[in-house]
């Protein structure tokens, strides 16, 4: 518990900033909803652009709008935050040499990683939860009712994707001791993957061919239409998390902390 509290405390200021930014993004989404819905923006949107988001025909205007904003920048925030958190678990400690202080204490490496993984999951949950809360309570305040169950599932999907991205980052970060390099590398890679997904969709690349594109597992339109997360996506994300965590524990326990 001491290790958990210490890492949570270290990340608390960052959490507040990220939650604030995410909530503002979500709020800007809900506040611009009226323009989209009342202005019938969906009908005016070019077909090529609509195809990027999947088949949103038949959805209510507000549901369609939600799939659009969650498939856009709002969906990127938790994954980027998960990357930053994952890099803080070990890489940042190595880079700033505080790992020496930490490991000179009577702690097991497994304990250290476990407590930090718990903070990562908790903080990503808080961030995703804050975004969900803004949409869930600000839209009705403006007189809109959406498919709230599906909205919840979209956020669950986003949460799972963020944890998976965090787990993969954590695993790879065991071989990266330079925090600033890690941040550049991973934020760049995740952002690139995010935009690549939409390029691939615009180019009508099939779902099967996008299997290695992480953001292909974030499917707001499909969830809004079917009311469920695709089983295949759940399996891939869960397996990715399990593999990422397993590799992280394996690598951290064998890591040599030389001068």
């Amino acid at each position: 518990m001491t290790l958990f509290r210490q890492f949570f405390g270290a990340q608390f200021k960052g959490l507040l900033i990220w939650v604030g930014v995410a909530a503002l993004f979500a709020l800007s989404g809900t506040r611009s909803g009226a323009t989209f819905v009342e202005g019938d923006a969906m009908a005016k949107m070019p077909q090529a652009l609509l195809s990027i988001y999947g088949d949103i025909g038949g959805l209510s205007a507000i549901d369609a709008y939600l799939t659009l904003i969650l498939g856009k920048g709002t969906g990127l925030i938790p994954t980027l935050y998960a990357v930053i958190l994952a890099l803080s678990v070990v890489t940042r400690e190595v880079d700033r040499r505080t790992v020496e202080f930490l490991l000179s204490l009577p702690v097991q490496r497994t304990q250290v990683l476990l407590s930090r993984l718990a903070v990562l999951i908790l903080n990503v949950t808080a961030l995703v939860g804050a975004m969900w809360a803004v949409l869930r309570y600000d839209l009705p305040a403006q007189g809109y009712e959406a498919s709230w169950g599906s909205l919840g599932l979209i956020f669950l999907n986003l949460w799972m994707l963020s944890i998976a991205v965090g787990a993969v980052t954590l695993a790879v970060s065991m071989w990266i001791d330079d925090y600033s390099l890690g941040v550049k590398l991973f934020l760049g890679a995740v952002t690139l993957a995010y935009f690549m997904e939409y390029v691939l969709r615009a180019a009508h690349v099939s779902r099967a061919a996008r299997v290695f594109s992480p953001f292909s597992y974030l499917e707001p339109t499909s969830i809004m239409r079917s009311g469920s997360i695709a089983t295949g996506s759940i399996i891939v994300l869960v397996v990715t998390v399990a593999a990422g965590v397993a590799v992280s524990f394996w690598a951290f326990n064998r890591k040599q902390f030389s001068a």
Binding site: T2, R96, R97, L103, S104, L105, P106, V107, R254, A259
Partner: protein, 296 residues
């Protein structure tokens, strides 16, 4: 029971450096100095003992416990001060120490206050706002706060001003008087001479010798510059004099061994100036290695 016992301990880096087949015994209750030039393997040995690095072969015991298999228990009883300590700089000194004590399950903080008062360090300030010397002081308090049985110090006085070095020296002597074992690596020969009972010398990852401090002192080398009123005499025949260079009335040389014969020899001439300087540690080691060192 030995405080530290290593048998054939090996941990090599890819470039071939590290420690090789290290056999070392540090007795309980002694202050053991660990000397060696940069890159000799001092820090690697300490890191291997503390579990930061895993040995490739050999065994290490600390306080009777296997340093690898029971590393957590070992670290409960050990205080460690690295050469350039890095604590959490977004926390205050007190918060860093509280964290370390909480992990160790220690609630009594009387010792923290006593140590902080001795070192005159303000624990209420965030580490990022402290000077390097003050950060070092916080690290000393952190390393000693839980009253460890074995204290491992990696070049502990680097960054400390001379006054604090003196206080630190007193602390080490007091810990020794209380029966604690201290294992310290150092570049400062005079510090080792003053504080330590025995010394181990490491070169290229291997222990060259372990000996009493007194024996090491005999291996000491000085850089000597002497200026005479008349032409510089030929001192190359004087026992212990090496590397003689004459420039007019000035003569420079290295001197190995006890200083008395040299002073007696120089006193026979009329001197204008005489300087005796400590050479770089590498030079001392070179002299030490050439001399073969003492018995193990």
């Amino acid at each position: 029971m030995q405080a530290i016992k290593t048998t054939g301990l090996t941990r090599l880096y890819r470039n071939g450096r590290g420690i090789r087949n290290v056999n070392l015994e540090v007795r309980q209750g002694e202050v053991f100095g660990f000397l060696g030039p940069n890159g000799a393997g001092k820090t690697t040995l300490i890191r291997t003992l503390l579990g930061f690095m895993h040995p490739q072969s050999g065994q290490a015991e600390m306080l009777g416990l296997d340093a690898v298999a029971r590393s957590r228990e070992v670290r409960q009883k050990v205080g460690y001060l690295p050469s350039d300590p890095a604590l959490y700089d977004f926390l205050t000194g007190q918060q860093n120490i509280d964290f370390a004590l909480a992990v160790r399950g220690i609630k009594n903080k009387n010792r923290v206050k006593a140590l902080a008062d001795r070192l005159e360090v303000d624990l209420k300030r965030r580490l990022k706002s402290l000077s390097r010397g003050n950060k070092q002081k916080v690290a000393i308090v952190t390393a000693l706060a839980h009253d460890p049985e074995l204290i491992i110090l990696d070049e502990p006085t680097s960054g400390l001003d001379p006054l604090v070095q003196e206080i630190f020296g007193q602390l080490i002597r007091e810990e020794r008087a209380r029966g604690k074992t201290i294992f310290m690596s150092s570049h400062v020969l005079s510090e080792v001479e003053t504080l330590c009972d025995r010394v181990g010398v490491i070169r290229d990852g291997e222990i060259v010798t372990v000996d009493q401090v007194e024996n090491l002192k005999k291996q000491r080398v000085k850089y000597v510059t002497a200026e005479f009123r008349e032409a510089a005499p030929d001192l190359s025949e004087v026992q212990g004099v090496r590397n003689v260079a004459v420039e007019g009335r000035k003569v420079r040389f290295t001197f190995h061994g006890g200083i008395d014969p040299l002073i007696a020899e120089l006193a026979k001439r009329s001197l204008v100036d005489l300087t005796l300087a400590d050479p770089p540690l590498e030079e001392v080691f070179r002299a030490f290695y050439e001399g073969g060192g003492g018995g193990r």
